[in-house]
Symmetry: C2
Subunit: 617 residues, 2 copies
């Protein structure tokens, strides 16, 4: 298997040109020496879970945030790392392939080598299974040359995104020890970074000197929190999908006779669907988060689409484009309950053929109602993270079929007087995932590679490499590292197999914030999008000219500069301190005391466990 | 309906940039005056059918070829068209939308206006139905501005690709007369251009002064013959599909666990699949023409794929990418026979639900064997050209399912010892059809628009606008017009509903030439493609830099310069004439006589009806 990796390969003309592109670095990483500023010890976004998290992660919970600054930056408490002994680092593709992954390795390699040419970067071939089996490939300039700025994970390959069982964790530790690794960098999404956190804690407990760093690389865009604004690959996936959706919109407008139901890859959350809806300005998008929040049944959703078809027919429009996130099926309450029952039976070892006969009467009735193709897809074995095989469940076909049946019925009854409803279904997934990464993803991934190195050089363990302020030009990007434990929360209820996670700390996929600005933007334009066909054809991904430097709309509309705001707060506090110094007037002191007492009271109440809600999923 | 067309619209950044691109013109069309050279009267590529064609098309058969030359070109018999009275021209999108269609209208408009600013171009809105209903939109600079170099047919829209029934033809004639059109330009593929030929003959017979010109615009690339090298849209479709296939290949190589079955739009012939296979270098492509020529059954094809899976497993490879043309289902003999029976019953007015019970025992048995999803798709009503609704029949799923069943059986029996076979299915159609056109298609379409004008200005009726020598740079392109009758042939046998065409002249979709160079290229590399994963990721369509000026491989490898070769032959004949002049020696005359007698004998035999075979379909 090893022989297939790292072999030089023939590139197409465009790939060759892309391989020559050199991403830049933000000012803080441009010097050979970098200053590390440590912030306060972190807490968790889930105050109620903080105690539990600290119990599960005694060695890696509560570590401080780290910011990387220019060596000459005037920050009193920062430490300059001047020693760069030769180190040995391993890197592994753990999560599903996502455009830009190769650039993380390239950035990491460049950072390692520029600080000490005797350092070594080992890539594990064949993903996590290569890690367990200690199969490595030493990364060199030569090997990297045809993978720079290229899509896929084929430089090293990947297998399963799981380093979880005791056996797997032990094998990973044995590999790190046998290969004398100072650091292990794990690329992946929610699951992989959670595994990284566990590994870090275990290594610390077992006195294994290898430091573990996670990198947020997932096209789903669902590894989002105060520290992580977006993930490597999300930008590319949304641009490529929007290209295709834009083409379908153009097609719809030309022939004016089909409704296109397009399902988009992106797992449980609907980030990809939301971004694509904003970019392509399709007529509708059914967000899983909206469905879950409003507890819409499959019939409610069908009715919503039928009403849209009816309204458009009254304007003599018989075409439309409807986006559906692949996770929708798990957001529809009754389908979710059915899937949970099926997975429970899988766990008990019941074979797929026998599952239907063992469902509860209610679930069995729903199962029988569904068309055969969907039944077979629901019976598929769950994924390694216990979720349904979303890429295999054709929710778009189910909806198209239900809408068609309903519209035909209304046509017969005379309540719908338009032309016959015709649907065409698409699933956009794999054809976007292997794309050449966008310029943003090339840059973001490359810089994250550098940040991973500095995180290891600072001796940090159980951290995720982070860059914030991404919507601004690269010279404003803030680089840092955050303890993964600070991103965890504790679920207090759950159904089915996921129940095993109750009461345990975990990273959870971020869902769309229904109070956020991106969602607000969609809602504001919803009726115009639905009725006016203001489609936008963003065109194929370009690397120069208009659109080449565009960033995701959802990234740009949110006020995401969390670290910038924390800094701003610190400035306010410092200002108060400098005004209210011994010698200031009584009045000033009194006013300050009264104001600050009120502020602290408000914040204490807000930050108390009881006031913080559960995430909707 | 009218109100929706010609409205200025908001373009994306890339679309705006593309709208500014100005295609060039070949030297022959750069001056305001153009010389027309008429060649000999044309014959038909189907000598056996020539007589029948001339009977059906007495007024438009046997017309000469026309070549457009620079005004100062030194050709003795050419006529210069100096008079350019104001004319009124109508244009209609008849075939299915194909990237570049808008540029034909733009080119036509520019040519019309540059020769006489008082001329008028009317676009029929809503396609052929707009033609019948005389719904028009006068094309202006303003209206064109946001449609230049853009995909889709939304400037005017389209409905059905059929101007065929007496009622339709009369409506079209009434429209041309009422609107006082000097010319009608019809954009479309095989069916639409055949309709154009019928219309031209009918107009001539009825003394309707409107001249009819067809333009080869179809993504299928199947309107190919001595005069037509490729069609507007084919280049774009193949590039966009190859982008997506390339991405899937990258994905396959990264995860190494799936076989991807990708069905490609392109109707009966496999041109799109062949071109995409050459561009993306996927592992396999199942060409309909190969299957038909070898009379492979669905089981033969399944076995061929299973053998490939087996061979790759022995090299420890468990992934692959297999391309399938959407027309494959009509190339498999037993499925074709079943479809013909179903269509025959449709024609008799049998409803879809009742068709299965009325099938012959043999067809019923095959029907029952097929999975339910395919059964329902086969029962769909045929298209306007009597073919199956190929875009709706999921042949890729049928094959994936049959291969999976077979591999599971072999796994159980121990004859296959590899990992479990996993398939993922895709259909790439609508997402490519609405794409921004490639530079080649922008140029080709724009120049064809100009050529259409000159064809009308030369007073020609029943011609198709043509450009040859396309694989060379634009300054070598040859522009002309060929009588559509010269491209027809007469079928002497056929099954099912198509039997109504027996003995009648028609344009037929060109199939892949299994003796041609493009096919040879594929065959030469087949075993390396199958086993070595030499995938090529051509990347997203670019308008600058590497790949922007690439042309289709199938266009470039063939020696297609038919008109150039005819010219070369004429030069030989002229040379002989100039050598063998009165006064030359007896010996020279004798040698010339003997040689030319032999040449004419050979050619007479070759061109006789009996020696020319039927096209394979």
């Amino acid at each position: 298997m090893d022989s297939a990796y790292g072999v030089p390969r023939e590139l197409s003309g465009l790939q060759k040109q892309r391989a020559l592109y050199q991403p830049g670095l933000p000012p803080c990483l441009q010097d050979t020496t970098v200053r590390v500023e440590f912030g306060d010890a972190t807490t968790s976004a889930d105050p109620a879970g903080a105690h539990v998290i600290s119990q599960y992660f005694p060695r890696t919970y509560g570590q401080p945030l780290a910011h990387f600054l220019r060596a000459k930056a005037k920050v009193p408490d920062a430490q300059i790392i001047t020693e760069h002994p030769a180190i040995r680092v391993g890197v592994v593709f753990s999560g599903r392939q996502s455009p830009g992954g190769h650039n993380v390795i390239w950035g990491l390699y460049d950072a390692i080598k520029s600080h000490n040419h005797n350092s070594t970067l080992l890539g594990f071939v064949g993903g996590t299974e290569g890690l367990f089996a200690q199969k490595t490939l030493e990364i060199t300039d030569d090997i990297l040359s045809t993978y720079k700025n290229q899509g896929g994970y084929d430089l090293l390959g990947r297998t399963k995104d799981q380093i979880r069982t005791t056996e797997q964790v032990n094998a990973a530790m044995a590999a790190c020890q046998a290969l004398k690794l100072d650091g292990l960098v794990i690329l992946g999404g929610v699951t992989s970074n959670m595994d990284a956190a566990h590994l870090a804690e275990t290594f610390a407990e077992s006195k294994c000197p290898t430091k573990v760093v996670g990198v947020p690389v997932t096209l789903n865009g669902d590894l989002k929190n105060q520290f992580v604004e977006t993930n490597v690959g999300f930008d590319t996936i949304c641009k490529v999908n929007s290209q295709l959706i834009g083409n379908v919109c153009t097609d719809a407008l030309s022939a004016e006779k089909y409704y296109y139901f397009i399902r988009l890859m992106g797992r449980k959350a609907s980030h990809v669907a939301l971004e694509c809806a904003l970019q392509s300005q399709s007529n509708m998008v059914i967000l899983g988060e909206e469905v879950a929040a409003s507890k819409l049944t499959i019939f409610d959703i069908t009715k919503q689409i039928c009403d849209a078809v009816q309204a458009r027919a009254e304007k003599d429009k018989y075409h439309g484009v409807i986006l559906i996130p692949e996770g929708l099926v798990e957001s529809v309450p009754e389908l979710y309950a059915l899937i949970q029952e099926i997975h429970g039976l899988h766990l008990q070892g019941v074979s797929a053929e026998n599952i239907p006969s063992q469902l509860s009467p209610w679930a069995a009735a729903l199962f029988e109602f569904l068309p055969p193709f969907i039944r077979n897809q629901l019976l598929l074995h769950p994924e390694s993270d216990d979720s349904a095989q979303l890429s295999q469940i054709e929710t778009e076909k189910l909806l198209a079929q239900l809408v068609e049946t309903e519209m035909n019925k209304q046509l017969k009854e005379g309540t719908y007087k338009g032309k016959k409803f015709n649907a065409i279904c698409h699933f956009f997934g794999y054809q976007a995932r292997g794309s050449l990464p966008s310029k943003f993803d090339c840059d973001y991934a490359y810089v994250l590679g550098h940040v991973s190195y500095h995180t290891l050089a600072a001796g940090l363990n159980g951290y995720m490499a982070t860059i914030t302020n991404l919507k601004n030009p690269m010279n404003k990007w803030r680089c840092g590292a955050a303890p993964i434990t600070a991103m965890m929360s504790v679920k207090r209820w759950s159904h089915g197999p996921a129940a095993s996670l109750i009461g345990k700390p975990a990273l959870h996929p971020a869902t769309i914030d229904l109070k956020g600005k991106a969602y607000e933007l969609l809602r504001q334009n919803a009726s115009s999008l639905l009725m006016d066909d203001v489609y936008s054809n963003t065109g194929p991904l370009q690397f120069d000219g208009p659109g080449a430097d565009a960033k995701a709309i959802t990234l740009c509309v949110e006020d995401q500069d969390y670290m910038g705001q924390i800094k701003l707060l610190q400035e306010y506090l410092d200002k108060v301190k400098s005004i209210v110094k011994p010698g200031c007037s009584q009045d000033v002191l009194k006013a300050a005391l009264s104001a600050m007492a009120s502020v602290t009271d408000v914040l204490a109440v807000m930050a108390s466990p009881s006031s913080s809600g559960q995430p909707p999923f």
